[in-house]
């Protein structure tokens, strides 16, 4: 945890870069942090945004990172848009977060309301800073995470809550981080902050880059610390470029790390310390597991400094200074229970003094680290005129953690594999592909005669994965 809480991230970096000269690199562009601190990537206009609620919606991760550094402590609120945010939800995000300025490196035509009065275009060039003296704010950092209805949840953190799990030991320029994650999501943002606050360098991933290309870049820069989901790492192990990298430390998070992936990584990277971590956008970083085994020892629940954890109704509950404070959009209800605990809805199974994650109580499906709410997929399937009802559930995958499967009841009984049913199946899939990103489209659709419905009339969701 940061011992001397800095007023802003730029103040913290100023201290950290004193002893070394870390850089950030997106492949095409590399910048020294001291140059970023000395100048402005926002056209020298950050003082105009003093006290504003700013939406950071850039294509380039490096520009997003620069905006965060420049605006923390200056803006009242920063809303960090992941690259795949659907523009249709932009008006709702702008309203809920009371956005009055947008920072972007692309044209955003329809922010949705007249509320947005300022638009700052970033072209990636560093210019001299403005001469204004912006006020000092304890800036809210707002992260987007998927919601049941498709509208993203707006989760409010502060620099202190986000940095709560980060050791303040300076790396003296020796550590170079990289991550498969995008820094606009919680897992990636953790790595950005780890690098910035410890004076380490950071190599960003690039969604357009091949796995081999990214690994070559990681290897060429001598990356020492690297994080990703188990699914990212399975893809690495299927690459002939896997041995181009030689990390000292490998961190897995975002999905259940099974024994297979932990064993494989230990075989291919025998020099590396391998840890898997549990964190959620709402609950923050809870704990790391360093013993090379899947699951976690039950002692972790009692012996993790600064984090209170308990299992209630089989699910993991977390209370700590690292948890988010609230949702900005009220429709998602309270983020914490009355006692201040966040219910992760992750169900734990205790076997031989060790807890194992076995699924989600709310049926949320984790496809390679990306959450899928079954209701969102069911709503699309149920639009088909021949569908009476549907139940979307998870199917375990040894490659990507989970796949989406749909059980569908038709209005008229399905024939014995007739052409008509096959056509309906194709139509449903087409509808899903038009309306949903590919990881949310069911990999299998089963026609069933009935689905389990409770007395209340609600679908009974399978409790475990």
């Amino acid at each position: 945890m940061l011992q001397n809480s800095p007023a802003s991230i730029s103040e913290a970096i100023s201290t950290a870069v004193d002893t070394c000269d870390p850089f950030v690199s997106s492949g095409e562009t590399s910048l020294l942090l001291r140059d970023l601190l000395a100048g402005s990537l926002l056209g020298g206009r950050s003082d105009e945004l003093s006290g504003s609620s700013v939406l950071i919606a850039t294509t380039d991760q490096l520009i997003a990172a620069a905006a965060l550094i420049e605006l923390d402590g200056v803006a009242r609120r920063m809303v960090l848009c992941p690259p795949d945010s659907l523009e249709e939800y932009l008006p709702s995000i702008v309203e809920s977060a009371e956005v009055d300025a947008i920072v972007s490196d692309r044209i955003i035509n329809h922010p949705g309301t007249a509320r947005v009065s300022s638009f700052i275009h970033c072209d990636g060039k560093i210019v001299p800073k403005g001469y204004g003296s912006p006020g000092r704010y304890e800036t809210e950092w707002v992260l987007l995470t998927s919601g049941t209805t498709g509208v993203p949840k707006l989760v409010v953190h502060t620099l202190a809550s986000l940095a709560g799990a980060i050791s303040c030991e300076p790396s003296n320029g020796r550590v170079i981080w990289s991550t498969f994650y995008d820094i606009r999501r919680y897992g990636g943002l953790q790595i950005l902050l780890r690098a910035l606050l410890t004076g380490s360098s950071l190599l960003f991933s690039n969604a357009q880059e091949s796995t081999a290309g990214f690994l070559a870049r990681v290897g060429a820069h001598g990356v020492t610390h690297i994080s990703g989901t188990p699914s990212h790492w399975r893809r690495v192990l299927m690459s002939s470029s896997a041995r181009l990298i030689s990390p000292e430390y490998i961190r897995l998070s975002g999905e259940i790390a099974d024994q297979g992936i932990l064993n494989h990584l230990a075989q291919v990277y025998p020099q590396a310390r391998i840890a898997h971590a549990f964190a959620t956008t709402e609950a923050g970083v809870a704990f790391d597991v360093n013993d090379g085994m899947t699951g976690f020892p039950c002692s972790v629940l009692e012996r993790t400094p600064g984090v209170e954890m308990k299992v209630e109704n089989d699910s993991l509950r977390i209370r700590s200074p690292r948890t988010a404070s609230r949702y900005l959009n009220e429709l998602h209800g309270p983020l914490k229970n009355a006692d201040g605990f966040v219910d992760t809805t992750d169900i734990l199974d205790l076997r031989n003094e060790r807890y194992y994650f076995v699924g989600r109580r709310d049926g949320v499906i984790n496809v390679g680290g990306m959450k899928v709410h079954p209701e969102e997929v069911e709503e699309v399937i149920n639009r088909h005129p021949k569908v009476r009802m549907s139940l979307v559930r998870t199917k375990k995958s040894s490659i990507i953690g989970s796949l989406v499967v749909a059980d569908v009841v038709l209005r008229s009984a399905p024939g014995p594999e007739g052409d008509g049913d096959r056509q309906i199946l194709q139509d449903i899939l087409l509808l899903c592909r038009e309306e949903l990103p590919s990881h949310k489209v069911p990999s299998t659709i089963n026609f069933v005669s009935k689905l389990p419905v409770a007395d209340s009339g609600k679908l009974m969701r399978p409790r475990h994965a």
């Binding site: 091949s210 796995t211 081999a212 699914s231 399975r234 893809r235 192990l237 299927m238 690459s239 002939s240 099974d258 024994q259 297979g260 064993n263 494989h264 075989q267 496809v367 390679g368 199917k395 375990k396 995958s397 040894s398 490659i399 990507i400 796949l403 899939l429 590919s438 990881h439 990999s443 299998t444």
Partner: protein, 81 residues
């Protein structure tokens, strides 16, 4: 059932559904150059589990990951024996 033929059929089916362009499926083709992403591989392995009644990736915690299409076919041929 011929293991290789079934794998080729399913790879082509998944590629078509996911609108991915496949190069010729030679043994030396690197899987990550096949145009299939992780989601495609997950769907493929799930379909092959339906075909063969087994998932070699789940069956062993230590077997090396296949790198080429030939490795992939061998993995299934080996466990299907």
């Amino acid at each position: 059932m011929n293991v290789r033929n079934e794998i080729v059929t399913q790879v082509k089916q998944v590629a078509q559904e996911q609108k991915k362009r496949l190069p010729p499926l030679t043994d030396g083709l690197e899987l990550l150059n096949s145009g299939l992403d992780s989601l495609c591989f997950a769907i493929l392995v799930s379909r092959l589990e339906d075909s063969f009644g087994l998932d070699p990736f789940a069956a062993s915690e230590d077997a090396p990951f296949p790198v080429t299409f030939g490795d992939f076919v061998n993995l299934y041929e080996h466990v299907a024996k």
